[in-house]
């Protein structure tokens, strides 16, 4: 008999290797390990930053020194030794390219392995890309097309040099230097990231995309992303992450700030696939990320994330709904397998009147992993007629994994309308048998169930990403899903 049980699935999951776990042999320019004011100054100097930026970083560093690493999240790991990490690593070629031809062919091959050939992307999917390897932006495509519309899309280092007024005005306004331990660290040492500005009334004609990759051993990646959508503009921004398999843990502490001015809309999608460690829980990326967006009047920010990688994830993309009638959305699929741990969710801070937020969170746990949703919905006293709908669903495979939900609701206005739904379920043999009895075989049944479970979030991804996300789910969960 064709026996494909939950046990088989679990077995298959255990043996599934990390498919993006290759290492690219590119010569890099790497700083000595350790962190002090000199290193912070050196990073700033290396990037030819103006004095105010250096000072801003030092201010963050001094704050960070006094802070403690947070422990409230439902994750357990050996704390990284922050003095054993190199805080700057750049591919040892020219850090800036004028065209793709100048890019190190080895690097291009890396992208090809990732399935994201820049060339192809450029031609086929009309996506403008910025690529950050280790900490440095190596390629920004489509600059010219975007330039005609007045859209600025470049690495943040370039932006600091070329558009200091914009960077200075907005950086740290949404995620202040002292916001939290990792944000402070990032503010002190970030080496690159993406910057994007959409002028008033402009609808960005293509998806903007950034790929992040940690390549070099013993480094951390600290990128900083700043997206500003001016009044009445629209942008859809995609972010993808991978890292090679390594035995030691790598640290990723990013900060993303989004600013949606009046009537603007930002759609920010992430497919995160940092190396999760091997089946025994060795190695993998520590992913400690602060992402936050501010909505002015009638603005909308939508976070969509598919999180399949990282050994430990600590991430809460949030929306501050400051303007009246502003809208915040959070759609998330978090998959954990083997020994992965994820503590992820969102914060929706309702300050303006008639503000609305939607939270859809889907957690899939397999192996010995732990998957937590942590969310805050806060309605401030002036936020008349605020609306929130939250839905947190967990799907368990097997008996050794865990799913946890921590919803926090703080309502200080009686016109608030808040709804919360939560479910936890298992893919059980009884479900599989039910499908079998109706003529559907086991592999198809599991695909049906996993896709059914995730579809509300997958549907929110831009087409270009949906396919990739679906593929990632397959890789992360089992070979035949789909």
């Amino acid at each position: 008999m064709n026996k494909y049980t939950e046990d088989d699935l679990r077995e298959e999951l255990k043996t599934k290797e990390y498919e993006y776990g290759f290492y690219t042999d590119i010569e890099s320019d790497t700083f000595p390990i350790g962190l002090n004011e000199d290193i912070v100054r050196a990073i700033s100097l290396k990037k030819e930053e103006p004095e105010w930026m250096t000072e801003w970083r030092l201010e963050a560093f001094r704050a960070w020194e006094k802070m403690e690493e947070p422990e409230w999240a439902n994750v357990h790991y050996a704390k990284p030794d922050f003095q054993a990490i190199s805080y700057y690593s750049a591919p040892n070629s020219k850090p800036k390219y004028n065209s793709l031809d100048e890019v190190d062919p080895e690097l291009l091959a890396t992208f090809a392995k990732l399935g994201i050939s820049i060339d192809e992307q450029k031609k086929l999917s009309n996506v403008a890309m910025d690529v950050v390897v280790d900490s440095v932006s190596v390629a920004t495509t489509f600059k010219k097309t975007l330039g005609e519309k007045g859209i600025i899309f470049m690495s943040i280092s370039e932006a600091i040099r070329e558009h200091p007024e914009l960077v200075k005005k907005y950086i740290g306004t949404i995620v202040p230097q002292k916001d939290n331990f990792y944000a402070a660290l990032n503010s002190a040492v970030f080496s690159d990231g993406s910057f994007c500005y959409i002028p008033k009334g402009v609808r960005c004609p293509m998806e903007l995309s950034t790929y992040f990759r940690i390549n070099q051993a013993g480094t951390g990646q600290f990128e900083r992303t700043l997206v500003i959508a001016d009044e009445g503009s629209y942008v859809s921004y995609l972010e993808g992450c991978t890292a090679p398999s390594r035995d030691e843990n790598q640290l990723h502490a990013a900060v993303v700030e989004l600013i949606a001015l009046d009537d603007a809309e930002i759609k920010y999608s992430t497919v995160q696939n940092w190396y999760p460690g091997n089946a025994e829980g060795k190695g993998g990326v520590f992913n400690f990320v602060t992402k936050r967006g501010l909505c002015e009047k009638n603005a909308k920010i939508s976070w969509t994330q598919v999180e399949t990688g990282s050994a430990v994830t600590w991430k809460y993309p949030s929306c501050v709904l400051k303007g009246d009638n502003s809208v915040g959305e959070f759609y998330s699929i978090a998959v954990t397998n083997n020994h992965q741990q994820a503590d992820t969710g969102t914060k929706m801070i309702h300050l303006g009147k008639n503000t609305k937020s939607t939270i859809i969170s889907k957690g899939i746990s397999a192996g010995k992993s732990q998957n937590s949703y942590r969310g805050l919905v806060k309605i401030s006293p002036n936020a008349d007629n605020a609306r929130n709908f939250s839905q947190c669903d967990s799907l368990l495979m097997g008996n050794e994994c865990g799913a946890h939900t921590f919803p926090y609701i703080e309502a200080k206005n009686k016109t608030a309308k808040i709804e919360h739904e939560a479910t936890t379920s298992k893919i059980g043999e009884d479900q599989i048998f039910y499908c079998n009895q109706r003529g559907i075989d086991t592999e198809k049944a599991i695909a049906l169930i996993v896709n059914g479970f995730s579809k509300e979030v997958l549907n929110k991804l831009p087409m270009e990403f949906a396919v990739e996300a679906q593929k990632l789910l397959e890789i992360s969960l089992e070979g035949s899903v789909g």
């Binding site: 799913a403 016109t415 939560a422 479910t423 936890t424 379920s425 298992k426």
Partner: protein
């Protein structure tokens, strides 16, 4: 002398008055002790945080009705579901009214608690079930201490009871203030179905305080549909304590239509002692003036594979107050529990208040629990749309409110009740339109 003292003082006289065997006697004595100790609940207790009995307890209630009163059917016909054939058990000021009632012993027992407590043939059922689901909180204990009359229903195995059973408690106000403590026991055996309608009705403006306890037992695969219609006048207070103990694969549904009185407190408790049980708790509350309605529900999921569905809608006008306190407990053993709870409210006046508090205590890990609570106003754009089509404001409002509460009505199995409730809603909303447009 306050009410508590009066009640404890009259207990001895009461006990001497009713002839009883030691079995019930002991239960009553134990119960009065609990009440003496705990007294009436106050706002300091978490479960009574939003409901105060102070304004109710200050009246000088007569605790035993002194004289018997009769009423003519035609005068009270409107309080019955009279357009269908039903069994009826009717009480006037706590005394059984035989001429308004229609009881039966034909295959099933629909009769009086006073008989059940005293006659040997009911002994086994009473010993097995009486006071076995009721909790030991102060008000239930008070009722237990004085329990002597009410409805006794026993449906043996494999019976489909063809006619609904109506339970009516009238108070005639022949005392300035009356306290009533009816006690009902309903036992439905394996694979039987029954539908029951309960109503408490005051016929004058004199004060009445009813502290009612109903115990319902649904045995294996039994199906019970229970409808509570509460639409009393301004001086009537009802504390309804209902306890439902379910066995495997049984289905119990309680619809509470709360159109108020002075103060209504519904303590509705479900205990799921068996697998594959379904419990349904539905409610529509529409009140105004200074009325106060408090729904306090408990669903206790003890065994695996059970379900509960709660859906309460409330519309609050003028200075009225609504409370919803819904507690769901899922024990560790109760895997694969499905528990749903929704509480949606509309405030149509700035002075109306709603306090809602869902409480989920989940100890199992493979469960589905969802709760949603909303507080809102009527949709202004929908109002404008209807008015621009020529529907006057009042009617437009009524239509929206009816639509809002409609999905609770859809699970009502007796069409006559649906019709009656629709009429009451229309009357409450002050319109004269048929809703089934």
């Amino acid at each position: 002398m306050d009410l508590k003292e009066k009640l404890t003082a009259s207990f001895l006289a009461f006990e001497n008055d009713v002839d009883t065997d030691t079995f019930i006697h002991n239960i009553r004595n134990e119960a009065i002790k609990i009440f003496e100790e705990k007294g009436f609940p106050t706002k300091k207790e978490e479960a009574w945080k939003y409901t105060s009995l102070n304004s109710v307890l200050k009246d000088d209630y007569s605790v035993f009705p002194k004289q018997e009163n009769t009423i003519e059917y035609n005068d009270v016909k409107k309080y019955f579901i009279h357009d269908i054939d039903t069994y009826k058990v009717v009480f006037i000021d706590g005394k059984y009214s035989s001429h308004l009632s229609q009881t039966t012993h034909d295959g099933i027992d629909v009769c009086l608690m006073s008989s059940a407590l005293t006659k040997p043939k009911y002994r086994i059922i009473v010993e097995n079930y009486f006071n076995k689901a009721a909790t030991k909180d102060s008000l239930t204990s008070l009722n237990t201490a004085f329990s002597c009359e009410g409805v006794y229903i026993h449906i043996p195995k494999n019976k489909l009871v063809q006619k609904p059973i109506q339970i009516l408690y009238f108070s005639t106000g022949n005392e300035a203030a009356t306290m009533l403590q009816p006690r009902n026991l309903i036992v439905v055996d394996e694979n039987s179905h029954v539908q029951i309608i309960e109503r408490h009705q005051s016929l004058t403006s004199n004060a009445v305080l009813t502290n009612s306890v109903t115990e319902i037992f649904t045995n294996k695969r039994a199906i019970v549909d229970y409808y509570k219609i509460q639409n009393d006048n301004q001086n009537a207070t009802l504390i309804d304590n209902t306890f439902i103990k379910q066995r495997q694969e049984s289905v119990a549904s309680v619809h509470t239509f709360a159109f108020g009185g002075k103060l209504v407190r519904n303590n509705l408790n479900f205990y799921q002692t068996g697998e594959r049980i379904e419990s349904n708790l539905k409610g529509i509350t529409i009140i105004g003036d200074k009325q106060h309605v408090d729904h306090n529900t408990l669903v206790h999921h003890i065994e695996p594979n059970c379900e509960s569905h709660q859906d309460y809608k409330g519309i609050f006008g003028e200075n009225s107050t609504g409370v919803f306190n819904g507690k769901i407990v899922v024990e560790k053993e109760a895997q694969k529990t499905n528990a749903f709870q929704a509480n949606n409210n509309i405030l149509i006046s700035d002075k109306a208040t709603i306090n809602t508090k869902p409480q989920l205590e989940i100890f199992a890990d493979d469960v589905k629990c969802s709760h949603g609570c909303t507080i809102g106003q009527l949709d202004e754009s929908a109002m404008f749309y209807m008015r621009s089509r020529g529907i006057p404001e009042k009617e437009a409002k009524a239509l929206l409110m009816y639509a809002f509460s409609n999905n609770v009505l859809s699970s009502v199995k007796i069409p006559e009740i649906k019709l009656r409730i629709t009429k009451i809603i229309a009357h409450k909303l002050g319109v004269n339109i048929g809703f089934d447009l």
